[in-house]
């Protein structure tokens, strides 16, 4: 009997140890660090990364008008609420404010947060922060982004805490979620078409389109086999459409991302309105690349 108790205790401890090891917050890989070491960052290129990654969509002040200026969208005081089945997430202040924001962070802390979803204190972030897409970002783009971030204003709005139910309050468990859900590569296979490859990077990586346009399993992981096939609205009523919408041409897609007008001249709404506010600020070649990717993806033989 005492032996059995000992065995149980032993197995329990081994399980805990395994859990602790498996859920350990990751550090930047030696390859990423090496890439940073030889890269010379450029704030101007970083602005394009900022718009492609849609940072303002969540972290700018809630309820900005559609015609809000670029400067207003660069004030990253946070505060937008996201009601989800797991609870309410609140976008934090990620402005350059030294105490309310992330002005006191080092570049490597920033890169670890964006690319791996780990805070400077070594805690997992919730995947409402789309690092499961940003993990595909090129190190150089993150370096450019940080260079640009240094030029953004400090905003003193305090971050509000998330409001989540148990057990989602236990961040350590997110390590398991990451093991299951962080992608090791792209969904669309490599090709020689450079425009499609640029679009793949923008859609699957920085643009994190799949975070809303792909359905999720019960643990909030993307069902990658249903890539971009539409999903329930992750934050509210209704459905997020399949991409590309049926019958849309490349021109229809680029015009929509630039102006918000659908081919029927309906006007974009909901969360997508903020996406268009960011993507419309990219160079037109990038919107063309997104359209090329979406059309290539949907017409590929396996879809």
């Amino acid at each position: 009997m005492r032996k059995l108790a000992g065995l149980c205790l032993g197995l329990g401890l081994a399980g805990l140890a395994a859990f602790w090891l498996l859920t350990r917050p990751a550090s930047l890989s030696p390859q990423t660090l090496a890439a940073f070491a030889v890269y010379s960052a450029d704030a101007q290129r970083g602005e394009a990364v900022f718009w492609a990654a849609g940072c303002a969509g969540c972290h700018a002040a809630p309820g900005l008008e559609m015609d809000a200026s670029a400067e207003d969208r660069m004030r990253l005081g946070g505060g937008t609420r996201f009601e989800t089945p797991f609870g309410t997430f609140r976008a934090p202040n990620v402005s350059m404010h030294p105490t309310q924001g992330i002005g006191g962070w080092s570049f490597q802390e920033f890169a670890r947060a964006v690319m791996l979803g780990v805070s400077p204190e070594g805690l997992h972030y919730y995947p409402a922060f789309p690092y499961a897409s940003y993990v595909l970002a090129r190190p150089g783009d993150i370096a450019d982004l940080w260079a640009f971030w240094q030029t953004l204003p400090a905003v003193d709005t305090p971050s509000e805490p998330h409001d989540l139910g148990f057990p989602f309050t236990l961040r350590r468990g997110l390590g398991l979620w990451k093991l299951l859900n962080l992608p090791s590569g792209f969904v669309l296979a490599d090709s020689d078409d450079q425009q499609v490859m640029r679009g793949r990077y923008l859609v699957e990586g920085l643009g994190h389109c799949a975070e809303c346009h792909t359905s999720r399993d019960g643990f909030g992981g993307l069902r990658r086999e249903n890539w971009l096939s539409g999903a329930a609205n992750p934050s509210g009523r209704g459905r997020i459409p399949t991409l590309p919408p049926q019958g849309w041409s490349g021109l229809d897609i680029t015009a929509y991302l630039q102006s918000g007008f659908t081919p029927e001249f309906d006007v974009v709404g909901g969360a997508m309105a903020d996406v268009v506010a960011s993507i419309s600020r990219l160079p037109s070649e990038d919107r063309n690349a997104i359209a090329a990717y979406l059309l290539a993806f949907r017409s590929s033989p396996s879809r």
Partner: protein, 153 residues
């Protein structure tokens, strides 16, 4: 045998479609507001197509569309948004309950559309550049409501 099954299947699908059509919106107030939205899109379509270079610029046509749009923005909508006609109360609408909780904001945005449509009416017949200069504000005035008060598909 196979043909018969195919026939039955066709009839069955046809009935489902018929039922779906029967469930279309019947509240005349809701039909009216949705029709108004379609008429807006119909006229914005002319202006937007010209702005995007999909349709050749034609001053008279652009001016007519913009004038129609402006007059549509004057239509009395006071009966088109009755309480209890939101997404949580009826089918076949995308108007979120938040719209009724923020009527002052909605009215203000309605006035913003009227202003944008008036500016477009003054610009559309001048030349293509003027039309293009006015289309952004027009789209933004539509989007202001769609962003906050319309649910995704």
């Amino acid at each position: 045998m196979f043909r018969r099954i195919a026939l039955i299947a066709t009839v069955a699908v046809g009935s489902v479609v018929a039922v779906a059509q029967a469930q279309e919106q019947t509240d005349p107030n809701v039909v009216a507001r949705q029709s108004l939205m379609r008429l807006n899109a119909y006229n914005i379509g002319v202006l937007g197509s010209m702005a995007q270079g999909r349709m050749e610029y034609d001053a008279a046509r652009a001016s007519a569309a913009a004038t129609s749009l402006y007059h549509l923005s004057l239509v009395d909508q006071s009966r088109m948004w009755p309480p209890g006609s939101d997404t949580s109360s009826i089918e076949n609408t995308r108007a979120l309950p938040a719209l009724w909780d923020n009527m002052d904001d909605v009215m203000m945005r309605g006035m913003a559309l009227r202003t944008a449509a008036e500016d477009m009416m003054n610009a559309a017949g001048t030349d293509l550049a003027s039309l293009q200069g006015a289309i952004g504000a027009l789209g933004a005035s539509c989007g202001g409501c769609h962003r906050a008060y319309r649910q995704p598909d």
